[in-house]
Symmetry: C2
Subunit: 667 residues, 2 copies
């Protein structure tokens, strides 16, 4: 809707946007009057409305349109569940401490990033100084703008930048490390810290070898604190544990998806970057269950034609971040994206993000690299959005394979499988073992059970290996069960290939999981929506589309005239009755132009003005925020128009075709 | 919408409803496959949709229509905040243990309730047995229904009922205790346990003296666990802490309200009664800030005429639970309800509850008794809903006075006041102290500061008392500052009445807080919506209104005919695109009547059926759940009708006036 000709071309300035967001209470540090807590933020009336609108449209786009089974599960989670899922052991970041001041802690990868980036900047500075001294600087004084910028950069980063020339080969090494910073494990990070002499940038003190730090918040349940538990670090586990009930609810048919919107918690080592790395956040997650042998999607053709920028793991491994543009259809058929279902969700994610207002030109899909992948995932693509902080992971789309259902099923001995009645029986060959119970029991005595279990748990390949030995010339095979060796022979057990005829197919579904960080999407949207008008560079505008705008309509009087109060309140109440959030701005002290501008900062797309003509003929004007154009019609007509504009059943362009423009003398 | 003639008159049976709720996955114990955790529940697709619809309409009814400032604050809360609010010291229940088996714990008031209720039942039983033996029983065999009922009652309560006659005076005492069970403090509970020999009902072991147990879950924030914190026990504190920003957002004008919907946590001693007493739950709270001198409400006349059943604290103190019917207007003017704002919210709460489907005949407003009131409240009315568990507190409506803002302001030294510019200066007399600095400092030396602070913090009355002494014959006054005495004389300080002329009035707002337990409302709604049809007593119906129904429309084929699949999917997708949650039931194995009945259990109000005529003329039938009546029209017409019915812009009665009934031969 925004006409680019009306936008100022001044570069984006984060500090100005942040000042606006604080003033208009989009969000603020939690417990601010108590000094705040790092990584905890409260959403104010504007930020919360934006968040709720993002959630509401998410429900429409995913849950309702895709007929997903939305659930709402507990946040408090027993330790046992998260032990099984792998989070107790593996949900960690790597932390190191200042060795002389152990209270100062760093997230190892962030520390390396900050130090190397500072050194690269220092190198650039040294090179440009060398250049400048050659060229002879003409302007000795820095411009005011430059000074301001330097001050801000200093405030932004605690890491000092020293002008110091680096070898070209070192620059290349640093850039290579930064390109794959997410790909290093604990040992690799330790190695880098040692090799490049990374120290606490503020004190120069050496830092300790990085060690894993679990990111979950602990608590315990019950009056005697008997049950150790954690605040969930993601909403997925609750969905997996309800799989049997959900499958039954879906008449025992696959594929289907569950979904959840809710709070999750991560005890970040050193939260930073505002809403982008926080300790408590709202997620929206889908767990789409598919047959591992049929990962196609019935609606794939609806997204196949969408062209997107993809950044594959192999390109990143080569040290580059260059994207490849491809249709989703081609990405799947060429094997870049593993299957149709993954591709379908990538398309739906793209549709969602652009519908709420994310700039498609600042959006890319990046594949996770091997070491970076979460412990449960076998392939993962992130929707990354470009902001002033760089490219930010906002949505993950992972193939968790059968990992979660398998581990929970094993731990609880509950069946988390799907049984499919086959129309045609399935006939195939399989290695099977047959135990001669008469001899087996007496031979192995109390070990009989563990040996039997060992054999039952072997994969096809493993059984084939044992069979080869057993059916070989010796007629014997040695197996290693938890460190103990047992000898088998053909009198105890036979392993042969058999023909199996199955009428029911039983399998553990695979899970495709699109997972949305709503706070990150919200922050990116704020940056993408923000602009400054050419004719008024002092005030910013948040160009939200009506779908997500916190307030849909401003209602205001032309002036402080007492007669305006009646119609004003009636219009606001009528809009609210219709479910349209309306804000009244009747502060008589401010000019109408200033009040329009004030509400541009809230991103309110429409404004209804009551003026002297209203008192004569009951007509009011309607202003659209981005174009600042106005039309005039009766109160009821305008209220109805606003409702239609907000619902999306008409557009401002359509409205302008039907109603003549009026002069906005007042602005 | 429900025609009472169609309903079976069979008495409500909770076990049958619960079986339905589990089968249709409204909710289930969290972590069920791990054995579950007491007091934690997950909402399935139906229960969650119901919950979300309750929230969405809450937002429409309160936030949008009343123009409230909805915020979203952190769950993790530093200990300091909750220490100040009083929760660390006072947010407790009283717990006692089985003295011989200390792992078995009881909530003292619940234990007393269970034991005394069991004794009263035992008394009734003994009395009826005595009566029966006189009358001579004719039927020796119990009917099957009786047997069933007895079995259920036994399962319901662990507390054994023994037929034992009590004195009439003892019965009266027990009933009196039960009527005010919420009113007892720790000592009173200990007294009752001792006096009435309350023991563990299962073992008969004595129980320990009750002791306070804090209900908050603990955790800690940061990589070294430095910051002790709690999971919030209510959503109110985050709202209070943001008061300065919210006031500014509202252009520094009062009254206004903030609101929040979110999770809260209470480590209940012994959770019970399903969703009614849980450890994690969704609340919706409003904090309405008013001038303590102007607690009237501009929209009070909109609710003044509503007649409600009120149960005052004085009636309860007399041991009765008889309600008084009164209009809200009369309740406020007679002083039963303290002020208009409290009365206004009582009215709005009533409107909300009845709009979502709570039976107004099973709803009452009960005033808290003095000891029962939360530590911050000065008056409180609960909306209580009658269920098979008795009268359940579902919404609290408390006047928290200036408690919270005052304590947080004092602790943080932040100004949490409102400044009001007075048109006419306010002139009044006030006691003021004037310190003679030349003498005061040298006289009190290092104590000068504490004495000054002491004088500054005195109330009017206290200052007056000191002045009387000081201005008396001795010319001296002794004050006690934190246990130390200081002597003042008129050469050091003067205290006199002065005339004050204020152009700005500064005050701490009072807070009226309607607080909704959404899980309790949801459960009550399930009981109130449930009925059984006269013609089919085997299957229950959940008679949800379209506003809250989890699925709005069922779409189904008359039979398994392959041609039906196309139109079926198209209708479902068109409805979903319009934001109408639609469920398809195409299981060919079940008759259409059985499929209707199955969806009656989900509370789906409308059903569209594709049949042979659809293939001819594109028409479908529309069935309404409660009347089971059907009409027929074209697909597009019916889809549009369903949208209107769901939005509430038309009603089934209106539809029936326009479209002729068709025979539902298929049912």
């Amino acid at each position: 809707m925004t006409n680019p000709e009306l936008k100022s071309s001044a570069p984006f300035d984060r500090a100005t946007l942040e000042a606006l967001l604080t003033k208009r209470f989009f969000y603020a540090p939690s417990f601010e009057i108590y000094g705040g807590v790092a990584g905890l933020y409260d959403f104010g009336p504007t930020g919360n409305a934006l968040l709720q609108n993002l959630i509401q449209y998410w429900r429409q786009h995913f849950v309702i349109e895709e007929n997903m089974l939305e659930v709402d599960c507990s946040i408090m989670t027993p330790g046992d569940v998260l032990k099984t899922s792998g989070h107790v052991d593996k949900f960690t970041d790597y932390m190191c401490r200042d060795t002389l001041d152990p209270k100062t802690v760093f997230r190892a990868d962030h520390l390396i990033e900050a130090v190397l980036e500072a050194r690269l900047k220092g190198d650039e500075l040294a090179r440009s100084q060398a250049l400048n001294s050659k060229v002879e600087a003409l302007n000795v004084d820095e411009s005011d703008a430059d000074k301001k910028k330097k001050k801000k950069n200093k405030a932004k980063s605690k890491t000092k930048v020293e002008a110091k020339r680096l070898d070209d080969s070192v620059v290349a090494e640093y850039k290579n490390i930064l390109a794959q910073i997410d790909n290093f494990d604990c040992d690799a990070l330790a190695e880098i810290i040692k090799k490049y002499e990374i120290t606490n940038p503020e004190t120069g003190n050496p830092v300790s070898t990085p060690a894993p730090f679990n990111l979950m918040f602990e608590s315990s349940i019950g009056p005697s604190g008997q049950l150790k538990s954690y605040l969930r670090p993601e909403t997925a586990q609750g969905q997996f544990l309800n799989f049997p009930r959900l499958l039954e609810f879906n008449n025992n048919k696959l594929p289907f998806a569950s979904a959840m919107v809710g709070r999750a918690f991560r005890n970040e080592i050193s939260p930073r970057s505002g809403l982008l790395r926080v300790r408590e956040f709202t997620m929206a997650e889908v767990e789409h269950y598919v047959d591992p042998e049929k990962k196609d999607h019935p609606r794939f053709n609806e997204v196949a034609g969408i062209e997107l920028p993809f950044l594959s793991s192999s390109v990143q491994a080569s040290g580059s971040t260059e994207v490849t543009h491809s249709t989703i259809g081609h990405a799947v058929s060429s094997g870049l994206v593993a299957n149709q279902t993954l591709g379908y969700f990538i398309g739906r994610i793209y549709m969602y993000l652009t519908a709420v207002g994310i700039d498609p030109k600042r959006l890319r899909f990046r594949q996770h690299m091997a070491n970076e992948m979460a412990h449960y995932a076998c392939d993962c693509w992130d929707a990354e959005i470009q902001t002033s902080y760089g490219w930010i992971e906002c949505v993950g789309c992972a193939d968790r394979s059968a990992y979660d259902l398998t581990v929970h099923s094993k731990r609880t001995k509950q069946d988390l499988c799907v049984s499919e009645n086959l129309l045609e029986p399935r006939v195939y060959e399989k290695w099977v073992h047959e135990i001669n119970m008469k001899k087996f029991g007496p031979h192995f005595k109390k070990d009989a059970k563990v040996v039997t279990e060992f054999l039952e748990q072997r994969t096809e390949c493993e059984l084939e290996d044992i069979a080869k030995e057993l059916n070989g010339p010796s007629g014997k095979a040695v197996i290693n069960v938890d460190g103990r060796e047992f000898e088998l022979d053909t009198s105890l057990v036979q392993i042969n290939k058999a023909t199996i005829k199955e009428h029911v197919r039983k399998y553990t579904p695979n899970v495709i999981e699109p997972s949305f960080g709503l706070g990150r999407i919200l922050y990116s949207l704020l940056e993408h929506s923000y602009y400054v008008r050419k004719e008024d560079e002092q005030r910013g505008v948040l160009g939200f589309c009506p779908l997500v705008a916190p307030f849909k309509c401003l209602v205001l009087p032309l002036s402080g005239q007492a007669d305006f109060a009646g119609p004003l309140l009636e219009i606001a109440r009528n809009l609210r009755k219709l479910g349209v959030p309306a804000r009244v701005d009747d502060s008589a002290s401010a000019s109408i132009g200033r009040r329009y501008a004030r509400n541009d900062e809230l991103g309110t797309p429409f404004a209804i003005t009551v003026d002297f003509q209203t008192l004569e003929d009951n007509s009011v004007t309607l202003r659209e925020r981005d174009s600042t154009k106005q039309i005039r019609a009766t109160r009821d007509e305008i209220i109805d128009l606003v409702k239609q504009l907000v619902e999306g059943s008409t557009s401002w362009e359509n409205v302008l075709e039907k109603y003549p423009l009026v002069n906005s003398e007042s602005e």
